[in-house]
Symmetry: C2
């Protein structure tokens, strides 16, 4: 492959969403690929990761990371191949983990780019062996502190974080109850992932079903959705319960607070009386140093199939926005990854 024959396809952030993101917020462009300077590499995107946190990056608000910039490629983690190298540390053909964003090529000076070696499934570096798996592992182990016999509830139970949290909890001897959207996902969570129960949040009697599945209350709630799942979970939290707050995907596109009454005193009163620990975390900021420890623990679990992992693979960069919208609505089934090139 010679870069001169290629042009870069990129999804730019065209505008910031008001509420739910729409396709007009993105614009697909073709651009020439610049000449490499000394010390640079040209990365060809193989897989692009789509994750809920990206919704936050589309806003121009203070958060844990800088917002994506208008008229620049939308941000995102990728598995890429070094197409050309003028950098001493990389050679053509190296497969790497990078932050190329929503585009088919990117030029990099190598900072933040990590060689993946000879992984049997390179795309897993975006999921079970990457950010989502690491998030599940540290949030559950460090904040959740699971103990045998405890009840662990996890929402988005078939997503890359939830499925991993639940299976790790199972290995720790917890009674694991999942929450997912639809009967098919719930069946998968029980039959394939080994959860004790999984409740479909579309059901009218969701809260009652959840309570029935947690006869001893809830000791750990791994929070990644918020909204009505949180509302059903909160009254069931036991004394000394732990709530790692990893995500709140149900509210990412909300523009207004829900109507009253204001339940803040109720939440704070519950935290006090039931001695609940609620803690937000952002995986690489809080736990970056633990990444090697995570890989060492998780890799054999995945290889020995003690932890199952499912990808929701989308073909073609052109389909990235729709796949992203679908993921935010829970229409994915497994980790959403866009296959950009062979």
């Amino acid at each position: 492959m010679s870069q001169s024959n290629q042009r870069n396809q990129a999804w730019l952030l065209a505008s910031r969403p008001e509420g739910e993101p729409v396709k007009e917020n993105f614009r697909l462009v073709e651009q020439p690929i610049p000449e490499l300077k000394d010390g640079e590499i040209l990365l060809r995107t193989l897989y692009l990761s789509l994750d809920p946190y990206m919704r936050g990056r589309m806003d121009d608000s203070k958060s844990y990371a800088a917002p994506a910039q208008i008229d620049q490629p939308m941000v995102g983690g990728t598995v890429s191949e070094v197409a050309e190298s003028k950098h001493a540390d990389f050679k053509q053909g190296d497969v790497v983990l990078a932050q190329s964003g929503w585009q088919s090529y990117a030029v990099s000076d190598g900072s933040g780019v990590a060689k993946l070696g000879d992984l049997p499934h390179p795309s897993w570096a975006l999921g079970i062996l990457g950010m989502p798996g690491f998030t599940a592992y540290m949030g559950l182990m460090d904040i959740g502190q699971p103990k045998a016999g405890e009840t662990l509830v996890v929402a988005a139970a078939t997503g890359p974080v939830g499925a991993t949290v639940g299976q790790l909890g199972k290995l720790k001897g917890c009674h694991v109850v999942g929450v997912a959207g639809g009967e098919e996902k719930c069946r998968y969570a029980i039959e394939k992932l080994g959860f004790s129960a999984c409740i479909d949040h579309h059901r009218d009697d969701f809260a009652e079903q959840l309570a029935a599945a947690c006869p001893d209350g809830i000791d750990i709630y791994f929070e990644n959705v918020g909204g009505k799942v949180f509302d059903a979970v909160f009254p069931l939290l036991n004394t000394a319960a732990r709530v790692p707050v990893c995500g709140l995907v149900s509210g990412y596109s909300s523009r207004e607070l829900p109507p009253g009454p204001d339940r803040t005193p109720q939440i704070m009163g519950g935290i006090l009386k039931r001695r609940i620990r609620m803690q937000g975390f952002i995986i690489f900021q809080d736990y970056g140093d633990h990444y090697p420890e995570f890989l060492k623990a998780m890799t054999p679990l995945v290889e020995q199939q003690k932890i199952h992992y499912r990808e929701h693979m989308i073909e073609g960069l052109e389909n990235a926005p729709q796949a992203f919208f679908d993921m935010l609505k829970g229409k994915n089934f497994g980790k959403t990854v866009v296959k950009v090139a062979q």
Copy 2:
């Protein structure tokens, strides 16, 4: 003193409050003192502690401790003197820490009764060297984890918990900002306790004043009041802030939630994005084992006057209800203790 000449004076819980407690919720009675059986002691109350948690015990709701019973003496910690003993471990004249409740005498089998030895100020066992001091110490050290240069905000800054938290934070090198009701208390917090600033929550511009006193944001908020103080603090919490939730006295008598909108998603979003740790604790349930460690650390600090301690002493058991109401409204200045007998 012979018990046959004495009768027990006791404040019974006459009814449960609806909202703020009123004097009709209590009834003062005189009762005969029963004959001691073998293995029992008669305790004469010297000092009765009045604490915010007692408001919760007046309700018949699930909490961390069983509610007080109707027509039984109101519960509470006391410093008592052994007036008579048929128990091998206690002799007449021993001064002890007990849970005799709001009454002048109590018969006990000795369980939960601890000898105080020769304390220069026995009533301090109800404050700086007892439950409130222990609460301040563990909540700040274990959950708050103060580091030099950080900003610590503490409400009820001249109360027994708040004053201790702030002074301990000062010793750790924190920038300590108190919140208190009234100029006199604020002056005391700055001049006597050594806080960097103290804001009067009665001021109309309270939130602005607090923000101005915390130019680098807030790293630790020791929560013991809730309500408008929490509302002013929350937006100022820094990334990785810690919030030990020790009490919510402003809301203990609230019967209804405040009007909307419901800020729950905002609170949860803040916890996530700013990676805040919020954790409730109940001192003896969570940290009972650490009491000797606390005494060892705190006693010399108090003796060397590195930690100042102020009591709000009320004379006479008959005045206990009014003193209790005043304390819930913040009219006390220091730790509220009722002197029941010499």
